[in-house]
């Protein structure tokens, strides 16, 4: 009796399914081809300008010269890496990268949090607005501009700061040429540029705290400092942790402009970092394989840092970065 229930042979059902799938596919393409067309430019961009250079990284493992293609160059059996690991300049740049980044973090990470809390305790609206506008401004200045301003301010003879120090009888300070003091100048300029901008996220987090909590605390007789300690800080804790993780993840990466522009030949022992080292060996001295290998080494360390910190964040029960 069961034959009667399915009068159509299996084969036909399958053909029909195929037909339906095909029609569905055609309908899908008809509805969505424009979306793929919109994606086309960025796919081309990614392949040419992002993935092709990743392939170019192979020259770190090859004896490359500009007259040969990457593929045709012979493998060199990690000779490049053996060479850079024997270079004292490389290790110096590596060390400087970590030291400067660590100092940036120790000073530059808590500062915007404190500033945001202070600013959120100010209740004069126009003052708040004006000071915010001024505080964000340095973020939009390039390092060439900041470096030029620093030259005018910190110059030993004619700089504004040393002129002021001179008036109160202090002898000129070599802000830019004494390597130990230079480190302070470097960190200060970074703080100057980024403190206001980095504060925005914390200000937004503080604005998102439930106001009733503060009102309840006032009822209980809490003072201003107590409110900061017991409500504001816990309220922005998760923001702080996420940004801390991101900051640690970026520890091995360093921009080029800031150390290159703020640094100079007199303080090179401290100012030469991975990015400037790559520029010097690769672009100025044409040692492409060495510079690429150093860049790759930094990328890999950076990736390990990032994955590591994200893993720790996961374990701590905080929301990961992605």
């Amino acid at each position: 009796m069961s034959d009667i229930i399915s009068p159509v042979p299996d084969a036909i059902i399958q053909v029909d399914l195929k037909e339906i799938k095909k029609r569905k596919f055609i309908a899908y393409i008809k509805n969505n081809w424009i979306l793929y067309l919109l994606l086309l430019p960025s796919i081309a961009y990614l392949i040419v300008f992002k993935y092709a250079p990743m392939y170019g990284v192979l020259i770190a493992f090859k004896e490359y010269n500009i007259f040969q293609t990457v593929w045709a160059s012979p493998w060199n059996n990690f000779a490049t890496f053996k060479e850079i690991f024997l270079m004292p300049d490389f290790w110096n740049a590596f060390k400087n990268t970590f030291v400067l980044n660590s100092l940036d973090m120790i000073i530059g990470f808590p500062a915007p949090i404190i500033l945001a809390i202070i600013l959120s305790e100010v209740y004069v609206k126009w003052f708040k607005k004006v000071s915010q506008t001024i505080l964000y401004l340095p973020h939009f200045l390039s390092w060439v501009i900041i470096g030029s301003i620093a030259l005018q301010l910190f110059a030993p003879e004619s700089g504004l700061i040393n002129l002021a120090l001179n008036k109160i009888g202090v002898s000129p300070v070599q802000f830019l040429t004494d390597k130990w003091i230079w480190v302070g100048t470097y960190v200060f300029l970074g703080l100057w540029q980024s403190i206001g901008w980095n504060m925005i996220i914390y200000l937004a987090a503080i604005a998102g705290i439930n106001q009733e909590l503060y009102e309840a605390a006032v009822m209980d007789g809490a003072g201003r400092l107590r409110k900061i300690w017991h409500i504001t800080l816990p309220g922005i804790k998760s923001t702080i942790i996420i940004l801390l993780i991101l900051a640690i993840g970026k520890m091995s990466q360093i921009g080029f402009d800031r150390p290159f522009v703020v640094g100079n030949s007199l303080v090179m022992e401290f100012s030469d970092v991975i990015s400037t080292f790559v520029y010097r060996t690769g672009i100025q001295n044409f040692q492409y394989s060495i510079a690429t290998a150093v860049g790759l080494f930094q990328s890999v360390i950076g990736l390990i840092f990032l994955l590591g910190t994200n893993y720790i964040a996961d374990k701590l029960g905080e929301q990961g970065i992605w």
Partner: protein, 290 residues
């Protein structure tokens, strides 16, 4: 009463701290402005502090008369507008399809983009690529390699996704195509995000220095930052300015450098206040998704 007094002291203290830090942010700019407006003799004899001494526009005249600096300014304005327009356009048309959850291949594409945020070829492979494409000493080398920022793309995609879906759906039922929905419905609602990202792209190009230093060796194609670097750090003035400078007794004197720095900063100062209300919301959107 005591509590009230304590509160007042606290308020004054907070305002004092903020004022101090704000002054530290703005005084260098004021100093530079007054140096640029002072006579070079006043600068050399160190009379200039926060107010210009012997006000004159000689330094600015010299900067404007220097063909090389002026050309580089025009070139940079043109390049910045072009870059910001191209970048925001490609970001918009890439972000929109990625908001469609049932788009086949969407995840592969997102993955391809996110990888580029964490790993890149590096300076030298980028340079070899640009060189092999024959783009060195070509303005395209300043436009193409950094055209699309993965970070900005994710911000815009997040913003698009946060718009109410019902709007798009009803438009779709009325027979609107994807392009109509994107340009008639999604874009008008996303102006704050788009203004912010355009600002980020424009500031990035305006301030961009490293790529120009590596890819450009022809002085005609120096963007302003590179020109400024050469001027301040290498004391390179073009002929006109050297003649101008010679008349005042020094080559690329401090007030001339200060004027050049102001010259490169003023365009940012002009657009910045107008866009400020937008970028705060933009940064906050970015913060949500990290």
């Amino acid at each position: 009463m005591i509590n009230n007094f304590k509160n007042k002291v606290f308020n004054v203290l907070m305002i004092a701290i903020i004022t101090l830090i704000s002054l530290m942010c703005i005084i260098p700019m004021i100093y530079l402005l007054s140096v640029s407006l002072s006579s070079s003799t006043a600068v050399i004899s160190r009379q200039v502090f926060l107010f210009p001494v012997e006000i004159n526009f000689g330094a600015y005249e010299a900067v404007f008369n220097d063909k090389a600096i002026f050309n580089s300014m025009i070139f940079t304005v043109w390049l910045t507008v072009l870059c910001a327009a191209c970048s925001i356009l490609i970001t918009i048309i890439t972000a929109y399809p990625l908001t469609k959850r049932n788009l086949k291949g969407r995840n592969i594409f997102l993955f391809m983009i996110i990888i580029t945020m964490y790993f890149s070829g590096g300076t030298i492979p980028d340079y070899i690529l640009v060189k092999n494409l024959g783009l060195t000493d070509n303005f395209l080398s300043l436009l193409l390699p950094y055209m699309l920022s993965a970070f900005n793309l994710i911000i815009l995609k997040t913003f698009f996704s946060s718009l109410p879906e019902s709007l798009e759906e009803s438009a779709f039922l009325d027979g609107a195509s994807h392009l109509t929905i994107l340009f008639r419905i999604v874009l008008p609602l996303s102006m704050p995000a788009i203004a912010t990202l355009t600002l980020f792209y424009a500031v990035g190009r305006w301030n961009g220095f490293q790529d120009a230093l590596i890819y450009i060796s022809k002085p005609d194609l120096y963007p302003l930052q590179l020109k400024l670097y050469m001027l301040v750090y290498n004391n390179q003035m073009s002929e006109v300015a050297i003649v101008e400078g010679a008349s005042t007794g020094s080559i690329a004197s401090d007030n001339l450098k200060a004027a050049a720095v102001m010259f490169a900063t003023v365009p940012i100062l002009l657009v910045y206040p107008w866009l400020q209300r937008y970028f705060i919301s933009g940064v906050t959107i970015g913060a949500i998704k990290g």
